[in-house]
Structures are given as C-alpha cells and as structure tokens.
Symmetry: C2
DNA sequence: CACTAATCAACAACGGTTGCAAACAAGCAA
DNA sequence: TTGCTTGTTTGCAACCGTTGTTGATTAGTG
C-alpha cells in the first residue's frame, strides 16, 4: 500500500474525506507487517481514537481493499487478515498462533498440467507454508508459553487453537 | 480415505457404532472428488436419510478428519471443504463458483528462505491456484450463466471437473 | 458557511459451525 | 428375543466474524 500521505491524496482525489479515523487506520496498516485482522487494527486504532467503531474499521479496510491498496487474505485462521503488501508473494502461517509472515521469495513458476485438462484458467498462485513460528516451536506444545515479541503492530489476539475470549 | 467397508471396520475396531447416517456419509465422501462442503454432503445424504441432521454430518466429518481419513480444507470459499484425497496434493479453486479440483502434480520442494530467518518450521506447503473453471470462464462475463450451486457436490453430468467417475 | 460525506451507536441478522441436553439406537450379553 | 449400556443423533440455541440498518451527529471540504 501507499504511504498514509499518498493515500490521503488518493482519497481526496476521489472525493473521499480525510477523517482522523481513516488516517489512523492508514498509519496502522502502513506500519504493519503482520497481516492484522480487522479486530487487531481496531484495537490499535482505539488507543488513539477510543471512540472509533469497529464498523468504521471494517468499512475503511474494505474500501482500501476495493481500491487495491491492501489485500484481504483468508488463510484459514478464523478471520480475514489485511495485507498492505500487495505485491506477489506468499505466506508462512503459524498453525498454532495464527501469525502470518510474508515470503517474498520468487518461486519457480509452477506448471499446472491439470489446469489445461479441465479448461481451468489460472490467474493467481498462492503458496501457503504452514508450520510453527519460532515462538510456538520453542514452546513445544505451543500452549501458552509463546509470548510473542514479534508483533510489531498487532497483538496476537486470535489464537485459533486456544480461543479464550477476553474481549 | 478408505472405502466405506474399511471405514466400517475401523470404526468398529475403535468401539464406534456403525449407524446408517455414518455409512451414508462414508459413501458420499468415497464417491466424491469435488471437495464437498458439509452442507453439500448433508444435501446428498438427505436424499437417502431425510431425517439426518446437519449436526450429525458435521460430527462425522470432524471425526473422519480427526482420524485422518479425510482432510478439512479451507480455501477461502466461505466454508470448509472436505477432501477424501489425503495424499499430498494441491488445489485449483474457481474464484467464481468456488469449485475445487485436485492437482496431483508433484511440485519440487519449494525452498523457503524466509522460514529460516523467522525460525519458522514448515510442516506443509499448500499451493492454491485460483482462477476460473471452464464453465465460469466461458459464461463468466455478465452472462451469469455458470449458475453452479457448489453445494451439490454431485451432479456428475454437470460437473466440468468430473469428466467421468463419481458414483 | 453550507453541503454532504462519514461516523457512531445500538442493535439485528447472516452463514458456517459448534455446544448442549434429551431422545434414541447399535451392539452385546443373557 | 429382551434388556441394557453407551455411543449417536437430533434440534435448537449460541457463537464468531462480518455486514446491514437507521437516524442523529460530527466534521471535512469547497
């Protein structure tokens, strides 16, 4: 995605208003590399704008996605995650804590023989590497031990395997 | 997955009861190559056992998945799909109708340089090829033609992925 | 300043999935 | 065959993430 400043320009150009809520969301996304969920963005923005509503976050996230500034990715972690890195890349997904990392490596074009046979037109190839992140691997059983320090911009809010509510 | 007969043995050996519901589900899965959703399985089984509950289908599907007889895959099509093909393979996913097809091609072990950097331990590599199936590619634009209710999972006559086979 | 978009709030609703308690039936033994 | 035990099924409500609604209020923007 573009910088908050550039996005501001873009929004203006589109006749959209630049609200503090939107700007805060821009900033959160721009500084994030952890594919936050809408809730995660919400939690962070709320530190700055306590009154912001989750609706607004979803709304803005969807707008940005529609504009192609971010990508909504569903990696089976329970909720959609938003990725400001819109280039072609892949993902590492921790099966324990749900954290996601980008994989920028250029992978060899994979031939898809079956595609032709079925008249399938392939437009995108996503590779999802599932496994365990360092923390969860270290914690062995992946239980409560792994206290992430890697979450630069997001909080490990949703642990698909150990949902504890606390909302 | 194993045949309905073998599964029956397995279930018995585990002290689990063989109910008509379960057997029907075994049969549906065994004859399917379309990665049906729970609802799809439900709809088919219902033709035979009208009184079966969706709950039972989910229950059995989860049991089978826990036993490793089938795999639950989340390809971002809105609901989980169940795949009796448990070998290592990948998927072609139609972004329009949500249909899924296996890709048995053996892909070279993809190196994941970033994984090391993050201390990530990769356990599985899934590749998802997204695009359009023949029907949707053909009728795709504006036509609204490929109506495709991906819940059917049967309907061999209509399934472009099902050249032949299926029960 | 006025116009209008954007936000908020407080829901309800939705689809997919699961928890729960009660009714039920498979399997086994007598 | 009958009876019993225990796993199963069922129906329904609840849950979660997300979207919709409506109306009132706020506040960007020209």
């Amino acid at each position: 995605m573009r910088s908050p400043e550039e996005l501001t320009q873009v929004f203006r150009a589109l006749g959209l208003k630049i609200t503090p809520q939107r700007q805060a969301i821009f900033r959160v996304l721009h500084g994030s590399t952890v594919h936050p969920t809408a809730e995660a963005v919400f939690d962070i923005v709320r530190e700055e704008i306590p009154a912001i509503s989750l609706r607004t976050v979803y709304q803005t996230l969807n707008d940005l996605a529609a504009m192609g500034e971010i990508h909504a990715v569903d990696l089976g972690t329970g909720s959609a995650r938003f990725d400001p890195h819109t280039g072609h890349h892949h993902h590492l997904v921790c099966e324990v804590c749900g954290r996601v990392h980008d994989v920028d490596v250029e992978l060899p074009g994979v031939p898809v023989p079956d595609a032709d046979a079925f008249g399938f037109t392939v437009t995108t190839t996503e590779i999802v590497f599932r496994g365990r992140c360092r923390d969860c691997a270290a914690a062995g059983d992946g239980a409560g031990g792994a206290d992430v320090d890697d979450r630069s911009a997001t909080r490990p809010e949703h642990d698909p395997f150990q949902e504890a509510s606390s909302a």
